[in-house]
């Protein structure tokens, strides 16, 4: 297998059809009224929102815009509004700053200097709002996580990844970009540097230390059982770098799974209790 950008090419019209069919089928089968999702103005949530609107009609999609003062960015809000308008999605904006401040105050060991823990609190707080709306209005929470993030664990456990369905989870970030372009997401959203918005100035590529164009090919190679040496050679990268990505790829399994238990009885969740879902 030759690791070039071409291996990540898919028939984007077919992908769009499959994802919209999947969303529609799921919402119908569980008899939900529609979809709720966090709308950040970033490429993943814009794409997930647009596909949900294409699947169900925009009136059945609710985008929650959940800004907070530290990472407040007018451009992102405008981008979210642009997508909502283009695809006819309803939006609700809630400033989560007071909630975050109250939460922070209530945690005896809260450390304002620990930006990761503090940032994760933001992602998990957004999840609370999404699930309240889902619960109250009989909606399905649609996640926006992509395969690159999920493979290297670049997300907040039980935070931004928490959802009932995650229609983009089998597409690497560079593939989401192509799909986004195909379905008409505005170019300024596709082109801007992705960020989980956990602290000011945070960018995914800066933090990961690799461009998604390279990371996705490494991950694609690992997915296809390629050896680290082969990947490094083909992409002209130091072996240590590919090794590091592989270690992270493996170590993050705990973030991709339901909680592990120890087997004590006849059929056990996570082991051999195997029920189909929809």
């Amino acid at each position: 297998m030759k690791l070039t950008q071409q291996v990540l090419d898919l028939d984007w019209e077919e992908v769009k059809t499959k994802i919209t069919r999947f969303i529609r089928d799921y919402v119908e089968k569980v008899k939900a009224n529609g979809i709720v999702l966090g709308l950040s103005g970033g490429i993943d949530s814009s794409t997930a929102a647009a596909l949900s609107a294409m699947a169900l009609g925009g009136d059945k999609v609710l985008g929650l815009m959940l800004p907070e003062k530290e990472t407040y960015n007018l451009t992102d809000i405008m981008h979210a509004e642009l997508v909502a308008e283009k695809f006819g999605i309803k939006t609700v904006t809630i400033d989560i700053t007071p909630t975050l401040e109250a939460l922070q105050k209530s945690i005896p060991i809260f450390d304002p200097e620990d930006k990761l823990c503090k940032g994760n609190l933001k992602a998990r707080t957004r999840m609370l709002y999404l699930y309240y709306y889902a619960n109250k209005l009989n909606l399905i929470v649609c996640g926006s996580s992509d395969k690159s993030e999920v493979m290297i664990g670049y997300f907040t456990k039980w935070g931004d990844v928490a959802a009932d369905i995650s229609p983009l989870m089998d597409l690497y970030k560079t593939q989401v970009r192509k799909l986004a372009r195909h379905i008409g997401i505005p170019e300024e959203i596709i082109e801007k540097p992705p960020s989980p918005m956990l602290w000011p100035g945070q960018t995914a590529e800066g933090e990961i230390g690799l461009k998604y164009e390279v990371l996705d090919l490494i991950l694609y190679g690992l997915e296809h059982f390629m050896k680290v040496e082969q990947i490094a050679e083909q992409l002209n990268l130091p072996k240590d770098l590919v090794e590091k990505v592989k270690r992270r790829w493996k170590a993050m399994e705990h973030k991709r799974r339901m909680p592990l238990t120890t087997k004590l009885q006849y059929r056990t969740v996570g082991f051999d209790f195997r029920m189909p879902l929809t």
Partner: protein, 277 residues
């Protein structure tokens, strides 16, 4: 025995775990197929229950013959049609041993069953976890000629189609539950099995989404020369009718005489090498 008859490819979306609803759908499609004079109506793999059943298989599997085959026999008698469908079978000798089985019933009742031999247990498939493989090829003598049954992944193993052809089947019926990422394999192999055996091949796939897997449909009837005689839609439910005319076999068999040119001495070698793989 008829030389010429119509076959209906009933590409349905099953209601997972709901045998009653699926039997009703089998009746509806059979009735529609009869309006087009089809004498054989074919439904997908595990069409009685849906494909992605996992642990619920133990509750849903039945003996064959049993209550569900009796219900489908009744439909076959009422509509005077042969019907092929798939269901999880519970062994009548043990209490929790299951098979992934294709069933053939006709206007006179139960004709026969074939237990899937090649059980995919890789990628998204977990069939060996639940099913015991069959040990007998399924070839049945009917008024529509000898019909051979295979199920889905069996198509990837040319030995089985060859065997049922050598047992006299001129129509190979392959019922399937293939998710979309495997479409290219099936589109190639359905034609290959028909052509290399100079036989008709009717392939009927599931549609719909189960547990995140999207089944692609694309059911087809292929002639002995590889021509696609009827083809159903991708992804959506469909009912298409094609005609089997056994007199088409002889000219192809004379033109590309694969059966005449068979070299049986390879088969011993194949066995020897496969055992030592």
């Amino acid at each position: 025995m008829k030389q010429k008859f119509k076959v209906a490819l009933a590409q349905i979306n099953c209601k997972r775990g709901d045998k009653k609803a699926n039997i009703q759908k089998i009746e509806e499609y059979t009735a529609r197929a009869r309006q087009h004079d089809a004498e054989l109506v074919i439904f997908p793999e595990l069409s009685l229950t849906g494909y992605t059943i996992r642990d619920e298989l133990y509750e849903l599997a039945e003996h064959i013959p049993g209550p569900s085959t009796a219900a489908i026999e009744k439909i076959a008698k009422k509509h005077e049609a042969f019907i092929v469908f798939g269901m999880p079978e519970l062994s009548d000798k043990t209490q929790a041993t299951l098979y992934n089985t294709a069933v053939l019933v006709g206007p006179k009742g139960f004709v026969g069953k074939y237990r899937k031999m090649h059980l995919p247990t890789h990628s998204v498939f977990e069939e060996k976890r639940y099913f015991r493989p069959g040990y007998q090829a399924g070839v049945f003598d009917t008024e529509l000629g000898k019909i051979g049954l295979i199920v889905c992944y069996d198509l990837f193993f040319p030995e089985l189609s060859r065997l049922i052809r050598l047992e006299g089947a001129r129509l190979i019926v392959c019922i399937s539950a293939s998710p979309a990422v495997r479409r290219t394999f099936f589109e190639t192999l359905t034609a290959a099995r028909a052509m290399e055996n100079t036989a008709f091949l009717a392939y009927v796939n599931l549609v719909g989404i189960e547990n995140g897997l999207q089944f692609w449909g694309g059911s087809r009837l292929i002639g002995p020369d590889g021509r696609v005689l009827a083809i159903a839609k991708y992804d959506d439910e469909d009912l298409v009718i094609g005609e089997v005319d056994y007199s088409d076999i002889a000219p192809t068999e004379a033109f590309v005489p694969t059966l005449k040119d068979l070299r049986p001495e390879f088969f011993d070698k194949l066995k020897e090498k496969a055992e030592k793989l």
